[in-house]
């Protein structure tokens, strides 16, 4: 698989579905590094940066946000058809994220709006995966913009970028951060996908799991550790449900 032609600049499009647009902004926070990006890539579609946005053909489509209504679903399919490589950008796009919390509450729209509304909401807020094939899951709430740079560079080299598959603990150790568990603070690091550089633990704030659940996670042991450090069962369930979308943790038989 080669995402991009070497001679011409790859055509890149940024799109956003249902989200806070924080990941969208994260790209802009790259600051001076944006010059490198603009030199190597042609940004053809970006609602926040450009007035003229045409839905042409793209080499790389970067889609932020979850699919929460029929318009989202149609748009996502259209973009997928026109793109060679699709990045699900941010935890909303990869897992449903914060908007997906409404999946756990029935009659959500009536509760909030009091009557049916025009948006044609789907039964559930979905990650992009449930509607189109995704080539790369860039997790994070928000994303780590350095990861975006690395993925774009890999695509320029004709490489298939690998998604991080190790816990946040590895990021903490690399950055020389003292483990929060040692100070009695329960942290979601061991069960969360790493690659963020652990900015929250660096500020002595426990990882909240915003990068989604790590397939190798030992949920049972994490649950026990959180109980041991003073969290109630309800609080732990809330934490596990927020980004990881784990419905019933409990004591899981360790692998």
């Amino acid at each position: 698989m080669v995402a991009v032609e070497k001679k011409s600049k790859p055509r890149v499009g940024f799109f956003g579905m249902t989200s806070c647009k924080g990941c969208y902004f994260q790209f802009l926070l790259l600051g001076k590094k944006l010059i490198d990006i603009f030199d190597s890539l042609e940004i053809e579609h970006f609602w926040m940066l450009k007035e003229d946005n045409e839905l042409g053909e793209f080499d790389i489509a970067i889609m932020d946000g979850a699919v929460s209504n029929k318009d989202n679903a149609e748009f996502v399919r259209k973009v997928r058809e026109k793109s060679r490589y699709l990045i699900a950008y941010g935890t909303c796009a990869c897992f449903g994220g914060i908007p997906a919390l409404r999946n756990d509450v029935s009659g959500f729209h009536e509760k909030v709006y009091g009557k049916p509304i025009k948006l044609k909401p789907l039964q559930n807020v979905d990650p992009l995966d449930m509607h189109v094939k995704v080539d790369y899951h860039m997790v994070g709430c928000p994303v780590n913009e350095q990861e975006l740079l690395n993925v774009l560079r890999d695509l320029l080299l004709g490489k298939r970028p690998g998604e991080p598959d190790y816990p946040v603990c590895v990021d903490c150790k690399k950055a020389g951060i003292r483990c929060l568990f040692k100070d009695g603070i329960p942290c979601m690091g061991p069960v969360t996908i790493g690659g963020c550089g652990a900015p929250c633990p660096a500020s002595r704030s426990p990882c909240d799991g915003c990068r989604g659940k790590l397939p190798d996670a030992n949920w049972g042991s994490e649950y026990d550790l959180m109980l041991e450090h003073g969290l109630t069962k309800d609080h732990i369930i809330q934490k596990f449900a927020k980004y990881a979308r784990i419905a019933k943790p409990g004591r899981v038989k360790g692998k």
């Binding site: 560079r153 190790y166 150790k173 690399k174 030992n218």
Partner: protein
């Protein structure tokens, strides 16, 4: 590095040690334990930085970083040419504990033995002065007594022992003697060998016949119990002074993707990615096998390949494990099971 090289001993006052470190730090990068919050870690001491090791047992992370630094660019590729980049000059590390020096001896056997040597480790090891500091009271999780790593007879340049107002100094190499000669005013001669009260370690690990016992214990239920607790965070492998496994990763910037640095990054056998090949197959997938790999490498494969245990009893893996897995306890349970079967 060397063997017992002199029958003379020396004394240096704590004030004069500061002067010695100041003088050394002007000539080369000098690393010493520096306190940050609740932990000590090896950091560079610039000239004028005061050495403050009140309450120092051992560093949170091992001194591996001075010999196998994380993220070292070992190779570079630019405009069609490869060039291998090496550490230049000299360095020194003060305050490294005897168990950690034994860890360096283990790494020496791995990196410099077996037909090939790892050229970057070799360069750093040959050019770094080692000034260990003997332990009086061990830390809570130490078990160096069991692993026979409490004492050092070789492989240091100057061995320091805190005897109150002074440090006792034992030279261990030509380079050590040269430093004493170059700083004559700071050292006084002494005829006595260092004598301090050695408080025994609280934890114990019985190593008798351990590789043989482990060879028969692969199917033990103890490993299943450990795997249930383990969250595969890799803290143990990260904090172990004899863990050395690494990956070679190609890195380049988006502005010039073809100017490549090949980075040597630490990798951890606790993680799935460690044994994943192209195509996605993971050779060591079950958590139990990855847990076994750590223990077996330190206590069975290590002695089989390098002739000594890789575990030096520093206790860091016990301190760092948030899931309360304790190597002395695990091996104790394996041994109990083995003894019951006899």
């Amino acid at each position: 590095m060397g063997g017992p090289i002199s029958s003379k001993y020396y004394l240096i006052s704590k004030k004069d040690l500061q002067r010695l470190l100041d003088s050394l730090s002007k000539k080369m990068p000098l690393f010493a334990p520096v306190k940050h919050g609740k932990d000590f870690n090896f950091k560079r001491l610039e000239s004028g930085d005061k050495l403050d090791i009140a309450g120092y047992t051992n560093t949170e992370y091992p001194p591996r970083g001075m010999f196998l630094p994380e993220g070292e660019a070992v190779l570079e590729y630019n405009k069609g040419k490869f060039s291998e980049n090496f550490f230049k000059g000299k360095a020194a590390v003060f305050g490294i504990r005897p168990c950690d020096v034994h860890a360096l001896l283990v790494l020496d056997r791995v990196m410099l033995g077996h037909d090939h040597f790892e050229s970057h480790y070799k360069r750093r090891r040959e050019n770094t002065l080692v000034f260990p500091l003997v332990c009086g009271t061990p830390g809570e999780n130490c078990f160096c007594d069991s692993m026979l790593t409490r004492n050092l007879v070789e492989s240091f340049d100057l061995l320091f022992t805190d005897i109150g107002h002074h440090y006792h100094v034992e030279p261990g190499s030509k380079a050590g003697l040269e430093i004493i000669a170059a700083n004559k005013g700071l050292f006084q001669e002494s005829v006595h060998k260092a004598a301090i009260v050695e408080v025994p370690c609280k934890k114990k690990l019985d190593t008798a016949n351990l590789p043989g016992i482990l060879a028969k214990a692969r199917a033990s239920g103890v490993w299943d119990e450990v795997a249930k607790q383990c969250v595969s965070c890799a803290s143990c492998t990260f904090s172990c002074p004899t863990c050395y496994c690494f990956s070679l990763v190609h890195d380049s910037g988006i502005a010039d993707p073809e100017h490549v640095k090949v980075i040597r990054e630490l990798d951890y056998c606790m993680l799935l990615r460690y044994s994943r090949v192209a195509g996605g197959l993971v050779f060591r997938e079950p958590r139990k096998e990855r847990v076994q790999q750590f223990f077996y490498h330190k206590l069975a494969y290590g002695p089989e390949n390098e002739g000594r245990f890789h575990c030096v009893g520093c206790g860091r893996c016990i301190t760092e494990c948030m899931a309360h897995i304790d190597i002395t306890d695990v091996i104790g349970r394996i041994r109990d099971e083995h003894d019951k079967r006899k």
